[in-house]
Each structure stands twice: as structure tokens, then as C-alpha cells.
């Protein structure tokens, strides 16, 4: 352990406090954009990079981990326990690295406007970041819940920063409500996990022995709680409302980072705290995850608001993460440690990937929103000419999230599919046949992601502008570009260098006792998780070949056929000039998916009659789960509340009577 600078845990703790302090400085002059934008956000980004670096170094020096710390704050009998192990270090890298790009972008993004003043926003933002860090470090239920709730509250205030708009207030309320239901489930889960010892440190939970029934209860509670935060279907309804409502850097932070914190919680419970659960319980997250993935991506294809589209795509990715998590549990239960480790690595890798890709895309939409004031896909188009930087950097994110090699989305998809290919060796009847079909589902979701990204990118950046006002669009500023470039670089690096990252994630899997990969992988340029003689994928060579192919083709064509290029207006079939309105709309582009998955949508369509002189076509896409599950639920709650209103007499003496009665009852019960 280094003495001079303290242990990694101390350093990270200091940096998290620095985040809070940076936020607090913003409060000094809340209206000053200069302080918040020019100084504080870049400082936050530096902190992020530092945290990522320290955590990365710590994660590669496993002999020092896990490292513990007790802070004398908190409840009298329960001081604050902190712990840094391989799993939390991995997620700290994610938090630090992804938030660095977002903070950098945020430095140029926030403006003085209608909503929360920039200084206050800066405080909430950095508090949000720090609370996520504390969630990752927490080692007892109490500090975990405190950090978790701080995270929920600070993000709520960030979501409602434009609080004068009713829709956003509503989205924020929904978010807060469902977040608290989730938190309740997590609290109950910890209550079960302590297993009668009534000690709420995670160490006590690790040591507790639960019966199979209680273990299952704890697992389902954790699934409900963390699934709520992550946006697992059917607990996803808040996500497509809240993520688009927030300012874009906050959307990026929520989709890119906060969802991963929920995944971290689930991993922590499922693979570290909870013991004695039969492996086949992993089928629950696999089923829910696959359904969420398909559901999310199908709805993403039908969206017309670019941020909602991305929010639904986040649901898809969360689904994939849960699928991998469940798969790892099944394999672990079936005593297949190597494949279990592979599935877990796929989850961790995908979490890292998604943090970068989704943040990049959300920030890209933020730039578009800023320079055009439009979120509706039907009013965008052709922005690649006006904002080339944003367009080309966003293209990296779009290609990555569509799972195209050699970018990063492909790597985690590859790992997950390789894990799925061993699913037929699971020794449970029916499961050994159903589980391999999950590979088909993952493939289908991946292909649909490609569809959605072509729609997103094509409609926003390509084609002709759909509104005349788009001609005034301007490219993003320098700091914003830097933030986007940082994230795009992350996507490329994660795509090209998986062979150096996968062993580090393998160490996480083995530290959790899930299983270990074969000690000798391939060289740095070759990903061969199951040993060099087996399956392999070498992204640098692969990418090099494709790029060399492109350059060679360019060279040959240039040398052999040097003919000039002329520009001419596109052929319009003699029917006058092509305008922005002659292109496909976003609705039109999603039509095949809507047609194919018709029963999934609650669609309301308005078709014009042939005799309409000013025909208008409109389609409204509703969420069936909202109508089938949440509306009746809300109805019951309303009716229940109305029933309780009987007690609400409005007279102070009645209320005092209630208090007296309660007091007497409690005294009688306790004594």
C-alpha cells in the first residue's frame, strides 16, 4: 500500500468529496454561467478521469483488494462502511470515464434560461455524480440506501430543471414515485438478506445462511428494486418519460451511468451477497431481460421523438444486461464456471460499452436540440451539412450501438452469443432447449437495433432539412466537441482493445467466485476468452483489413479511372424540385416494424378520407403495459385513497383523537 498518497480507496473518497465541493462552489454564485461552465464542469471532468484512472489501477492490482474503510458517521451502532473491490472498481472506472466526457460536454451546454440556474444545476449534477460513487463504495445497507436515495433525489431535481413545463413536472413525479417504490423493494431485500442476524453490513449478509425460500424472496425483491431503477419491463414506464425530459447531459448521465449503477446493485446482490439460490432462478432475469430487450427496441423503432427513441433503446440494452446476468447465474448453478465467467464478462463489457455509446448519442441529440430547438424527428434532417462534427461523432455511437464490428457494441454481443452457444449443456430439461433460442432473440434484437439506428441517424442527420429554420443550425462548441470526441474515442478503444480489457473483467468474475477464464488468453490484439485454440476475434487486424481494403480500393480507383465528379440536383422524375417533405418521415420509416409487431402497440390512427382537401395522417403509439397494468393500479390507489378519506374529518380534535388511539394501541402492543 502506498503511504504517501494513501490507499486507492482514500483517494477515490477524496475525489468523490471533491465532486461535492465543486458542486457547493457552484452554489456561491448560482446565476453565474462563467464559474459553473468554464471552471467547475471541466474540474468535475478532471475528477472523473482521476477516479477512473485510480480505479483502473486498483482493479489491475488485485492483491490490494478488497480494501475497507469505516467512517465514524451514520447511525450510532452502524458506522459507514466503505469497501473497494474488483466489481466496484470496474463500475467506478465506468462512472469516472463516462462522466468525464459528459461533464466536458456539459461545460459548454448549460445556458442561463427558464429553469434552474446554472450554479444550482452544477450542485445537483455533482451531487448526483458523487452519490453514484458512494453507492459503488457502500458496504452496508444503511450507507447504500442513503447514497441510493441521494442519487434518486438529485437526479429528480435534475430531471425537473425545466420545471415550468407541466409535462416535465409530470415525468419527474412519475420518476420519483417509481424510484421510491424501487427503493422500498431494495430496503426489504436487505431486510431479508441479513438473515436474522440484524446486522446490516454487507459482510454480515455474505455470512448469513438463508433458506431457499428466503433467498428467492430476496432475489425477487432485488430484481424488482434494481429492475425499477434500470427500467426492466414492466417496471420501465418512467424511463421513456424522465430521460427525455432532462437536459441532455443529464439524460446521458442517467441512461449511460445511472442505469449501470442499478446493474451494479443487481450484480452485487446476485453474485456477492446472496447465497443458496438455485441456479435456475437465473431464468427469471433471462426471460424478463429478453422480453425487455425486444420490447424496448420495437418501441424505439416506433418513436418520433429522438430522445424517447434513445430512452427506449436504453430499455433494450438493460434487457440485454439482465439476460447476460441471468445466464451467468444459470451457468454458475449448473457448475459451468468458465461459461458463467464469460456471460458475466459480457454483462460488464456491455455495461461499459453502453455507458459510452448511449452517453454519446444523448449528447449528440443535446447538440441538435440546442442548435435547432427541435426534438421531433419529423422536423429535423440534413444536419450533417450544418453540424459535421456532431454528425460524424454521433455516427460512431450509432454504428457502435447497432453492434457493428469493429466498434465496441459488437464485442459484448459477441461475448454474449458465445456464452449462449453453451446453453445447451445446461443440465435442466426444457431449459437446455429453450435457452439456446435466446441466442436467436439476441440476434433479432441486435438486427433491430441496426434498424433503429438507421432511422435515428438517417432522419436526423441525413437527407434534406424538413424545416427551413434548420438552415440556421450551427455546430457544437469546442468543449462540447471535446466531450463527444472523448466518448467516441472510448467506443473505438473498447472496440479495438477487448483483449486487454476482458482479462481485467475476468478477474472481477473470479473475485466474485463465479468462475475463471483460462489463464492464457491471446496476445493483446486477439480476443480469445476460452483459450487461443478456441474461438477468437482480433479487432485490430479486422479493422485494419477493412480500412486497408477501403484505402486500396480508393487508390486503385483513383489511379485507374481519374474522371471528374460533377454536382447536379437529384433527379425528381420530372415532378418539380424535391423538398424536405418528399422524404420518408420518421413514422414512415418505422412503419414496417409497426406493421410486423402490430399486436404489441396500442395504436390510434387517424386516416384521411380520399375526399379530404387538406389530408392529415396521424398515428399515436401507446404502451400496452401502461394501459393494462398501471392505469388500473392507479385507479385502485385512487379508490383506496378515497376510502381512507373517510377518516379525514378536517377537525383538529378528531385528529388528536386518532393520535391518542394510536398511542394507546402501540403501548398495549409493546408492553
Amino acid at each position: 500500500m502506498t503511504v504517501a498518497l494513501g490507499a486507492p480507496l482514500d483517494q477515490i473518497l477524496a475525489l468523490l468529496c471533491a465532486w461535492v465541493a465543486i458542486g457547493a462552489v457552484g452554489l456561491v454564485r448560482p446565476a453565474s454561467l462563467k464559474i459553473a461552465g468554464r471552471t467547475l464542469f471541466p474540474l468535475g471532468a478532471v475528477c472523473g478521469v482521476a477516479i477512473a484512472a485510480i480505479a483502473a489501477i486498483a482493479a489491475t492490482h488485485l492483491s490490494q483488494l478488497p480494501e475497507r474503510l469505516e467512517l465514524p458517521i451514520g447511525l450510532p451502532a452502524l458506522p459507514m462502511h466503505l469497501r473497494l473491490d474488483a466489481l466496484s472498481a470496474t463500475f467506478l472506472v465506468l462512472l469516472g470515464a463516462a462522466s468525464a466526457g459528459i461533464s466536458l460536454f456539459g461545460a459548454g451546454y448549460f445556458r442561463v434560461g427558464q429553469g434552474t440556474p446554472p450554479g444550482l444545476l452544477c450542485f445537483e449534477y455533482h451531487l448526483f455524480l458523487a452519490s453514484m460513487g458512494f453507492v459503488l463504495l457502500a458496504d452496508d445497507a444503511y450507507s447504500f440506501m442513503v447514497a441510493w436515495e441521494t442519487m434518486a433525489l438529485s437526479s429528480y431535481f435534475l430531471v425537473t430543471s425545466q420545471h415550468r413545463i407541466g409535462e416535465i413536472r409530470r415525468a419527474g413525479f412519475l420518476y420519483l414515485l417509481i424510484a421510491h417504490l424501487g427503493a422500498l423493494a431494495i430496503l426489504l431485500c436487505f431486510g431479508v438478506l441479513q438473515g436474522g442476524s440484524w446486522r446490516f453490513t454487507f459482510d454480515a449478509m455474505r455470512a448469513a445462511h438463508l433458506s431457499a425460500g428466503w433467498a428467492a424472496a430476496a432475489f425477487l425483491l432485488a430484481l424488482a428494486g434494481f429492475g425499477t431503477k434500470a427500467g426492466l419491463v414492466p417496471l420501465h414506464v418512467w424511463l421513456p418519460e424522465a430521460h427525455p425530459a432532462a437536459p441532455s447531459p443529464v439524460s446521458a448521465l442517467m441512461s449511460g451511468v445511472m442505469l449501470k449503477i442499478a446493474i451494479y446493485g443487481m450484480l452485487r446482490v446476485a453474485f456477492d451477497l446472496l447465497h443458496g439460490l438455485p441456479g435456475w432462478w437465473g431464468l427469471v432475469p433471462v426471460g424478463l431481460g429478453l422480453f425487455s430487450a425486444l420490447y424496448g427496441i420495437v418501441f424505439a423503432a416506433a418513436q418520433t421523438d429522438m430522445k424517447r427513441l434513445l430512452a427506449y433503446s436504453s430499455i433494450e440494452n438493460v434487457g440485454i444486461l439482465f439476460t447476460g446476468l441471468g445466464l451467468a447465474m444459470v451457468f454458475r448453478g449448473a457448475a459451468m464456471p468458465t461459461v458463467a465467467a464469460l456471460a458475466l464478462i459480457a454483462v460488464l463489457y456491455h455495461a461499459l460499452n453502453h455507458a459510452f455509446m448511449k452517453s454519446l448519442l444523448f449528447l449528440g441529440t443535446g447538440s441538435v436540440l440546442h442548435s435547432t430547438g427541435e426534438r421531433n424527428l419529423g422536423r429535423l434532417g440534413g444536419l450533417i451539412h450544418r453540424m459535421p462534427w456532431v454528425a460524424w461523432l454521433t455516427l460512431v455511437g450509432a454504428l457502435a450501438i447497432a453492434g457493428l464490428p469493429p466498434l465496441n457494441g459488437f464485442v459484448s454481443e459477441w461475448l454474449l452469443l458465445q456464452a449462449f452457444l453453451h446453453a445447451n449443456e445446461v443440465p435442466y430439461p426444457f431449459v437446455d432447449m429453450l435457452l439456446p433460442l435466446g441466442a436467436g432473440m439476441v440476434a433479432l434484437v441486435g438486427a433491430l437495433a441496426g434498424y433503429v439506428m438507421v432511422k435515428f441517424y438517417g432522419v436526423v442527420f441525413l437527407g434534406q432539412p424538413r424545416e427551413p429554420s434548420l438552415a440556421r443550425a450551427h455546430d457544437a462548441g469546442r468543449t462540447e466537441r471535446a466531450g463527444l470526441a472523448w466518448l467516441a474515442l472510448g467506443c473505438v478503444a473498447l472496440g479495438l482493445l477487448p483483449a486487454t480489457i476482458v482479462p481485467a473483467l475476468g478477474a472481477v468474475a473470479s473475485s466474485l467466485g463465479v468462475g475463471a477464464l483460462p489463464a492464457r488468453g491471446g496476445p493483446w490484439w486477439m480476443l480469445a476468452p476460452l483459450g487461443p485454440q478456441s474461438i477468437s476475434y482480433a479487432p485490430p487486424i479486422f479493422a485494419g483489413t477493412v480500412i486497408a481494403g477501403v484505402l486500396l480500393t480508393v487508390l486503385v480507383v483513383r489511379l485507374a479511372y481519374r474522371r471528374p465528379v460533377r454536382r447536379a440536383p437529384p433527379w425528381a422524375c420530372g415532378a418539380g424540385p424535391l423538398t424536405g417533405r418528399t422524404q420518408d418521415t420518421a413514422e414512415g420509416f418505422g412503419q414496417p416494424i409497426r406493421h410486423f409487431f402490430t399486436p404489441w402497440f396500442a395504436m390510434r390512427r387517424h386516416l384521411p378520407t380520399p375526399f379530404d382537401t387538406a389530408p392529415r395522417y396521424s398515428v399515436e403509439i401507446g404502451d400496452r403495459i401502461w394501459r393494462a397494468l398501471y392505469e388500473p393500479l392507479a385507479g385502485w390507489v385512487d379508490r383506496g385513497a378515497a376510502a381512507c378519506a373517510v377518516f379525514q374529518r378536517g377537525r383538529i380534535s378528531t385528529y388528536l383523537l386518532y393520535a391518542l388511539a394510536t398511542l394507546c394501541l402501540l403501548l398495549a402492543l409493546v408492553i
Binding site: P429, F430, M433, L434, L437, F596
Partner: protein, 222 residues
């Protein structure tokens, strides 16, 4: 997976073809093609029976192969084709569920029947035990074909295909049913076909259509 003899590989392949044809029937909208697929299925079944007869030396399997060929490849398709011509039903209207949906249900049925057959196959001692799952799947898929169609004609083909599955199941589990039973079943099917044919003409005369929706409004007591 050990070294499987070539004949058994061929038999497995034929079993898979049987299943493939069942799925093709499930995905087919045209009644005429449905009949051809049924004839083809009969042919594959006949080939499988012959192969098994040659492999095991059971002579009554030869007989049932001949029976299959006569009834399911020649007689029934001929009858059906004639009926289609005379009734003029070449197309089924849209099935109750769209085709991908039907097929998805079909895949789930296959998973179910394969899972069901795993323990049975472990008990069976015959050479073709792995084919039991396929036989069950063919039967259930034929059921599904019948459920999702509107036209009486395609339902009859579904019914006949179910009989194919039963036959194949019996063959792979116990090398065929006793001869008497087999003859009886074949005769039953033929007679049933004839009776149904008469029915079709009656139904059409009554309702001007073979759409079974029309019958639904004539439930008893209304």
C-alpha cells in the same frame, strides 16, 4: 455423440423432413399446395417405413409402407385434389393468426414436445427412439394447423397430417401398430374422407361457402 450408422442418420433426416413438411403446411395459405405437401409427407413417411423395414427385417412394416403409399400418397391426395377442383377452393382466406405468429406458437409446441419426449425416448429401446419427439411434434402441429384455418378443406388436411404423426410415432416407438389396427385406421381415414367429402358439398349447398365462420352462428339452441 458417438458414431451413428448411416441408416440411422438417414432415418433421422427423414424424421426431420417430416417435421419440416409439417411446418411448411403450417405456413401455407394455399389449399392446393397444402394437399401436395400432405402427399409429400406421406411419401417421406413411406420411405421412412421402408428404411426401417429393411433395417429391422420386420416384414409387416413392408406391408404398412405399401399401405401408406397407396392410401396417403395416391388415394387421399387424389380425392382431395378432385374435391378442390369441384369445389373451387384454391385459397384459404387469411388464417386466424398471422403466419409468423402461428409459426412461433409452432416452435413453442416443438420445444414442448421435444422436452416431453426426452424421458420417453430414454425408456424406449427401439432404434428410432429419438424420433418420438418429432412424432409428437407432428401431431401437435397438425392440431395447430387445424385450429388456425378457416376453411373446412384445410382442416381436413390438418386432420390427415395428424394421422401421419400418429403413424410415425407408433412406428418409431414399437416398430408399428399391429396390422389389424393399422388396416382399420387406414380404412377409417378413407371412409372419414369420403364422408367429409359428402359433407363439404352439403355445407356448400346450404351456405354457399366453406368458410367455417358461417357455421359458428348456427350453434345449438339459437
Amino acid at each position: 455423440m458417438g458414431q451413428t450408422p448411416f441408416v440411422m442418420q438417414l432415418l433421422d433426416t427423414l424424421a426431420a423432413l417430416l417435421l419440416l413438411l409439417s411446418f411448411a403446411m403450417l405456413a401455407q395459405r394455399r389449399v392446393a399446395t397444402l394437399v401436395e405437401l400432405f402427399a409429400l409427407q406421406g411419401g417421406v413417411l413411406c420411405a421412412a417405413t421402408l428404411l426401417l423395414a429393411w433395417r429391422t427385417g420386420e416384414e409387416n412394416l413392408l406391408l404398412s409402407a405399401a399401405l401408406t403409399f397407396g392410401v396417403k400418397v395416391l388415394a387421399l391426395p387424389w380425392l382431395l385434389r378432385r374435391m378442390i377442383r369441384r369445389l373451387g377452393v384454391y385459397w384459404d382466406t387469411d388464417p386466424l393468426l398471422n403466419i409468423p405468429g402461428t409459426m412461433l406458437v409452432g416452435v413453442l409446441i416443438v420445444v414442448f414436445s421435444f422436452g416431453l419426449a426426452q424421458p420417453i425416448s430414454a425408456l424406449a429401446s427401439t432404434a428410432t427412439r429419438s424420433a418420438i419427439g418429432i412424432a409428437v411434434a407432428v401431431i401437435l402441429l397438425a392440431f395447430l394447423t387445424m385450429i388456425t384455418r378457416r376453411k373446412a378443406m384445410s382442416q381436413v388436411v390438418g386432420f390427415l397430417s395428424m394421422e401421419n404423426g400418429l403413424f410415425f410415432g407408433a412406428m418409431s416407438a414399437t416398430y408399428g401398430m399391429p396390422m389389424v389396427v393399422e388396416l382399420g385406421v387406414a380404412l377409417d381415414v378413407l371412409v372419414a374422407m369420403l364422408v367429409l367429402g359428402v359433407f363439404f358439398f352439403q355445407i356448400r349447398e346450404q351456405f354457399d361457402s366453406l368458410d367455417l365462420d358461417r357455421l359458428e352462428s348456427h350453434q345449438g339452441g339459437r
